[in-house]
Structure formats: structure tokens, C-alpha cells
Amino acid sequence: MTDRDYYWYWLNNIPGIGRITMRKLLEEFGTPERIYRAGGAQIESLLPRAAQRESFHISKDGKRIEESYSRLAEKNIHFLHPDSPEYPKRLATIPDNPLGLYLIGKMPADGVKTVAIIGTRECTRYGSEMARYFGRELSKSGVAVISGLARGVDGMAHAGALAAGGYTLGVLGCGIDQVYPRENYRLFIDMERHGGILSESNVGAKMAPGLFPERNRLIAGMADAILVVEARERSGTFITVDQGLEQGREICALPGRVTDHNSVGCNRLIKMGAHIVTEVQDMLELLGVEGAHLSNHEKLPVEGRDVQTMQLSPTEQTVYGCLQIEPRYLDDIIEELQLAPQEVCMALNHLAVRGIIEEPLGNYYAIKL
């Protein structure tokens, strides 16, 4: 812990003093060290509330600060501040840049292109499969995937990147040690090992709705381009997009059917001028990744395109024709085809065993993506 780390860490952890006050103090004094050493009257004029003044003075407890800092080290959490060498250059230039960051794992290496893959938490299977697909394929080209470790699109984008063995960074709104949502616990563990988790809040800070926009500012800040996979008409995703526009990031969106609830937001972005992305190459060319034309990528699966080349029995072809991206209930298929249940079961399971279709849920079938 250098002196600079000490003063920055202290400044970032004074109860009741937020980024706005911190910036005001920094403007006045220049460095955290000078704030620390500043005399009473001068400081007190800048801190209007009595509670702030009190906690400011109490917080200057060297032993407590050092203890708290070393506890972070025990948990393999790094503290970054604008003066530290690891502080991401991308964030240094954004408006209202963070003055303190907590990191588990690594930051993306210098020169690596980054894409934020974002979208609604209540995504469809199409959304989650697309997030996973783009996460995976971008990762194969060495692009770092940034997202918010949330339910839905976020989590799937991370999972896709990890599956390809790539680097991925999750940005949290809550404290760096909080696993939220709980269901992503396994993902958290994997990302700590193979990627990074970043937060502006120290350990213990609970999730609060007001923190999401703060986090989205960082996601946009860390990304060279933002890819929106699925978004409804009103969505938190637009906060990220707005921040991204302010910060000069490229905005991209996957087009969707105009009738799809979950694609209304994407289509609106496209109408307003976002890049249309229909394949990985689109993203790579936009980012200027070298060798973008080389296609070592899996082709985006298109419904029913390859069925002709696979040897399917007539019943299997009929059954396959009924399937969609969204899982369909077995009995609905039986009902639609008016075939005997055993025939449909046989055909579906035969397709599933051969890996042509998937059963994402018991008795629900969908075409493979």
C-alpha cells in the first residue's frame, strides 16, 4: 500500500461523502493527500452538513484505514484509483469518471477491443441464445465481453465468453463481494478465476435500484461498442446506451421482428441510427479487429436451414417443422400435428438424441441454436 493508495482509499470510504463532494474537495486541494492534511476551517466551509464534518474527522484513523485495506487484499480485491497504473484508460476519459474502483480478477489487457453485450433480464430463449452466441464468438476473436452479471442476457453473454475460454468483465452495482442475483453464483466463481469483476462500491454495499444507472455508466465506459440483444420499449438498457452515446461509444443492436415485445427496444435503436448487427463479422469489422474476414466462427444458426442435409424420416421432418426457437410444449406439437403421442415422442427424442434439436426443459422442445 503506497501513500497514494492510502489517501485515495481513505477519501473513497468516508461515510456520507460521495463522488460529488469528493470532486469538490479535489478541485479545491488537488490531491487526496492535501485534503487529508488540510486545516479545519477550510474543509468545514466545503462540507455543509455537520454529519459530514464529523465523519470526515473520525475517518482519519490510520489504523482502521490500513486494516480495512488489508482485509480487501485477503479477499483478493484490488483497489484502483485515478492515479494507480492499473486504472483503466477508458474510464479516465468518461464524464464523471469513478474515483475509486474495486476489482477481483483482472482488467482487460491494453489494446484489447471490448464489447458490452446487454439486454433485458426477462429475455426469451432467443435472447439468451443470441447473447451466448455473440459472447462466445466475439471471445474467440479475442474481444473482451463486458456486461452486468445480471439475470438474462448479461449472464448468458458472460457464460458464452467463458465457454470460449475468453476474457470477460462483469460490472456490479452493489458491493464487490455481493453475489446478486444468487442464481449466478457459479458464474461469479468462474469470472473471478478467468475474467474480472468490477464495482465502484466497497465490500458490504447492498444492492439498491439507484445503483443500476451508476453501474451502466461503467459498462458503457469500459466498452468500445455496445451490443443490445433484446430490450423492451422501456428498459434499463437505454441508460447504458445513453451513457454510451455521451461517451462516444458505438451502439449496435440485433434487429427483431416488429411484433416481438422483447425486440421493440432494439428496433427503435436501429431506427435512431444504431448499427444493425446480424453476424459476428459485423461487430468485428466495426471494431476494426484484424482478420475479421477470416471465418473460424460458427455460423449463426438459421431456423430449419440445414434440415435438408440431415437424413430425417418424413415424421421427423414434419415434427421438426413445428419447432421454433422458443421451446414448445410436447402436447401442443401433438395437438397441432394430430399424430399419435408415441409417434411424436419418438421423433422428437430421436432428433434430440442426435443433437438436432434441444429439450431445454422437460417435455419442451426447441430447435438448436
Binding site: E122, T124, R151, P181, R182, E183, P327, Y329, L330, D331, D332, I334, E335, A340, P341, Q342, C345, M346, L348, N349, H350, A352, V353, G355, E359, P360, L361, G362, N363, Y364
Partner: protein, 511 residues
């Protein structure tokens, strides 16, 4: 003078002989009853003396001793009123002792000498026949229940006087003709499968489950028709055989659940205990153990709706009965064995709110679902061969004008499949595919080379456990039986995959 009357009591669902002796001698006039008597038997003394006087029999004051033997068996219930009265009358010389030979006497008395029906007559009558009794005298209300046992004279008496006149030969009671229950005729159920619109998959699954007596679990949201289907399962089960019917009627007789004046139970039971049921009510128990719901569902269906709402300890108690087909209950006065070969049909919601995977309605998180489903233990799930997801019915399906198959048609196919497997499994001492032990499973399925190849592929694809694989094979065997096939073919295995339990702890979600 000494006299002896034979009577019977219950031990579990079996009858047991009790000898009632009476001795009348000179001495201080007392009335003594001995032989490990419960308080209701001890009270019989008062009932008997009053009933005798009100029936016109005077007992001069003498020293009276009544003994119920064997002395080490606790006697319970009011069934000994009549045998005690007859023993006394014989001891006083109202009735000649010889006429009591080969007769079993049973019944409860009211103070005016009327005979009241008692429970548990069928097991006692069955016991009497097997032990060479020529006849049985019992309350009039019980006569039909006993009359299903052939080869014995059954006398149903309305009051004490009739019994005495009968034994004195002054006025014989008319013998109850033996009842031949009609097992061929199909009884009319109030429900039928043809009333279920759509739900083809579910109906097919139920047909397979019944055809192999596989336990089955329905998973689906409220209002999907789970209970509706379950209630119709008995309508496609084969008719009870005479032996099965006797076994079942014995259980109901012991529980006092036989309707008045009924003979044998000829319909398979459908029991649907509420999830507030206690373990004793479900499994059987009490100070004097009574059969529980699982025994009342013997040879029939035990339907547990809202399976996960049952207390965990209660559900877990099903393990041993599901395995053995009987339950042993040990209490202070002995241990009792009740048969309970039932088909378990369980229904549950896939998540706490019930609507998963309908994302419009379900707000449950994955950990919430996992926690919810974790209430079911692996050992219990191992005993459930089939699992099927159910979805809410669409409006069109509910009111579609389509001819649905009737229970009779489905029942015929089921009966054939059951007969086929019974023949095949006879050498192994089992009757149903669901009971095939895993070590002989592959032999019984007779997989050919092509099937072996597919089976290996399936095994790897779904990462099956040994038990999970065995469950799929058993169901495949039943599907083959329904089709009349001696060997299990690829198609049968493929269909069975639809009824497996995929990644159960996640509510069916894989990965």
C-alpha cells in the same frame, strides 16, 4: 356348569381365534371376567346381563366366571357380547353344549338384546373357513359381508332371542345364501377418460403408467387438469380379481369403512388424502394400529396432490412401503402387517408460485425453484419411474369437438399389456414391469444390436445415472408390452425418454 364358545378378533387384517369360557358354580354371587381385557370388553359384563334379562332369560344368583383365552392376547372391541351371553346361557343350561360345536359366534349387544353390526367381519369369517368352522352366527347387518366367503353356513341374527331359539332348534334362522360377486361385469364409473379433452400426452403417459404399475409424477401449474386425469386412472385399471378383492375388503372391513349391507369391494380404490395428513393416517398407526391411506389404496391409486406441500417426514415414510408393497407397524401389543400395493400418482407445481416456465406469470428465481424442489429426496424419486410436465389447457382444446377414447378402450389395451408382462415375469416372482430388479432388466428387455447402439448414445447424451437408466428401461418395457412386442425396440426407448426425469432439481431445466 362349564361351557365354551368360540369367537374371533382381529390381528391386523387377519382374524384370530378367541375362546370364551363361562363357568357357573355355587358360592357368593359374583360376576368375574378375566383374560387381559380392554375396558370395552370388561363393560360387556353389564351389557350382557341386562340384555339377557330384557330378552327374558333369568340368571339365578351364582358365582359366574368368564374367561377369554388365549390369556396373553389383549381383547378389544365389543364383539364378545354375544359369545359371552351364549356361553353364560349354555353354562346355565338354557342351551345344549353340543349345538355350539363348529360354530363361531360374534356380535355386539344393545341393552334390549338387539344385535349390532361390528367391523372386521370379513377377515374373521375368512379365518373361520380356513380353520374348518361349519358356520358362523353374526349380527344381521354383517351377513352380506361374511356371505362372500364360500363353504360356510352364515346366520345373521337380529337379536339374542333369535340366536338362542336357533341353537335350541326351536326356530332356526334362515341361512344367508353365499354371494357370488360379479367380477365380469364392468361397473359404471361416474367419470370416464372420454371427458378429458386434449392432453394426449398426459393420457398416453397415464396409460403406460397403469400398464406397468409405474409410479408417476405430474409437474405443472394449477388448473392444468392433473387431478382430473388422476381421478380417472382407476377407470382404466383391470378389474379386481377375487383374491385381490378379498384382500382389499379385509382392509376396509378392519377399518370399519365398508358401507352397511355391502359385500365385497369390486372397484379399485382411489385415495386422495389432503396434504395436511399425518404420518399415522397415511402409513397406518395409532395405539391400536389401523390401516393408513396407503393400505386403503391397496390394489388401487394413491393420489397425492400438491406433493411438495406434504410434510417432508410424511413423504419420506413412503419409501419402504413403495419398495415392499406392505407396511409393518410395531406397537406395544404386537406388530401388524398391512398390505399396500398401490400405484403412486403425485402431482406438484414446478415452483413456489406454480407457473414456471410461463415467464409472464412466474417470478420465481432459480434458487427459489431449486430450494422448492429439493424437498424431494433422491431415494424417493428413485421409486417414481415416470415424470411428465403438464401445461395449462388451451381454450380450443377444452371445447374441441373431437371424439376422445373411452376408458373401456384404453382399459383393454392396459389389461393386455398387464397380462403379457405377468406371463413373462412369473418365473421371477413379480407381476409388474415397475418391479423388475435392475440386474435382470436388460435380459428381460432383450435389446438387439441396434437398440444397444441407441441405448449407449442415449446414455451418454443424457448423462444417465444407473438408476435413471433403469427407470427408462422399465418404462420402455411397458411401452413394448402395450404394443404387443416381446422385445424392446428403439422406438420404445425413444418414447420412454419423454417420461424421464430430466435434471430434476432444476424443475426440468437442463444445464
Amino acid at each position: 356348569m362349564y361351557s365354551k364358545v368360540l369367537s374371533g378378533t382381529l390381528h391386523g387384517v387377519e382374524g384370530r381365534l378367541i375362546t370364551v369360557e363361562a363357568d357357573v358354580s355355587d358360592g357368593l354371587p359374583v360376576f368375574n371376567m378375566v383374560g387381559v381385557l380392554a375396558s370395552e370388553v370388561r363393560e360387556a359384563g353389564d351389557r350382557v346381563r341386562t340384555a339377557l334379562r330384557n330378552s327374558g332369560y333369568i340368571l339365578p344368583p351364582k358365582k359366574i366366571t368368564v374367561n377369554l383365552s388365549p390369556a396373553d392376547v389383549r381383547k378389544e372391541g365389543a364383539v364378545f357380547d354375544l359369545p359371552i351371553s351364549i356361553a353364560l346361557l349354555a353354562a346355565y343350561g338354557y342351551i345344549p353344549a353340543e349345538c355350539l360345536e363348529g360354530l363361531l359366534i360374534i356380535g355386539e349387544l344393545s341393552l334390549n338384546g338387539q344385535l349390532r353390526p361390528v367391523k372386521g367381519i370379513l377377515p374373521i369369517a375368512d379365518y373361520a373357513r380356513r380353520n374348518g368352522f361349519a358356520g358362523i352366527i353374526l349380527p344381521y347387518g354383517n351377513r352380506r359381508e361374511a356371505a362372500v366367503i364360500p363353504g360356510m353356513r352364515i346366520y345373521g341374527a337380529e337379536n339374542l332371542k333369535q340366536v338362542v331359539d336357533h341353537l335350541n332348534d326351536s326356530k332356526r334362522i334362515e341361512e344367508v345364501p353365499c354371494i357370488q360377486p360379479e367380477f365380469g361385469e364392468k361397473k359404471n364409473f361416474s367419470v370416464d377418460f372420454s371427458e378429458v379433452r386434449g392432453q394426449m400426452l398426459l393420457k398416453r403417459a397415464v396409460e403406460i403408467a397403469v400398464a406397468g404399475m409405474h409410479n408417476i409424477l405430474f409437474m405443472g401449474p394449477p388448473g392444468a387438469g392433473k387431478s382430473m386425469i388422476a381421478k380417472r386412472i382407476p377407470t382404466i385399471m383391470p378389474r379386481l380379481s377375487y383374491e385381490e378383492s378379498i384382500e382389499l375388503t379385509k382392509i376396509y372391513s378392519v377399518s370399519g369403512l365398508l358401507e352397511a349391507d355391502s359385500a365385497l369391494i369390486t372397484e379399485r380404490p382411489f385415495r386422495m388424502p389432503h396434504h395436511s395428513v399425518t404420518s399415522q393416517a397415511l402409513i397406518g398407526g395409532g395405539r391400536v394400529p389401523k390401516p393408513g391411506e396407503i393400505s386403503l389404496a391397496h390394489h388401487g391409486v394413491l393420489f397425492l396432490d400438491e406433493f411438495l406441500e406434504f410434510p417432508k417426514n410424511v413423504i419420506e415414510m413412503l419409501r419402504q412401503p413403495l419398495e415392499n408393497g406392505s407396511i409393518t407397524i410395531s406397537r406395544l401389543h404386537g406388530s401388524y402387517v398391512y398390505p399396500c400395493e398401490f400405484m403412486l400418482v403425485a402431482a406438484m407445481n414446478p415452483c413456489p408460485c406454480g407457473y414456471y416456465p410461463d415467464k409472464e406469470r412466474c417470478r420465481c428465481t432459480r434458487p427459489e425453484r431449486e430450494r422448492y424442489l429439493k424437498k424431494l429426496s433422491a431415494p424417493l424419486l428413485d421409486r417414481i419411474d415416470m415424470n411428465i410436465s403438464v401445461k395449462r389447457i388451451q381454450y380450443g382444446e377444452l371445447y374441441g369437438k373431437r371424439q376422445e377414447e373411452s376408458s373401456a378402450v384404453i382399459g383393454e389395451r392396459v389389461a393386455e399389456a398387464l397380462a403379457r408382462q405377468r406371463r413373462r415375469l412369473k418365473p421371477f416372482g413379480i407381476s409388474f414391469n415397475s418391479k423388475i430388479p435392475s440386474n435382470i432388466l436388460e435380459e428381460i428387455c432383450g435389446l438387439g444390436a441396434e437398440e444397444q447402439r441407441l441405448w449407449k448414445e442415449v446414455f451418454e447424451k443424457y448423462d444417465l445415472s444407473a438408476r435413471g437408466a433403469a427407470r427408462i428401461l422399465r418404462v420402455s418395457r411397458t411401452i413394448a408390452d402395450l404394443e404387443g412386442s416381446e422385445r424392446v425396440h428403439s422406438g420404445h426407448i425413444l418414447e420412454a425418454l419423454s417420461y424421464r426425469m430430466p435434471g430434476f432439481s432444476l424443475g426440468g431445466e437442463e444445464g
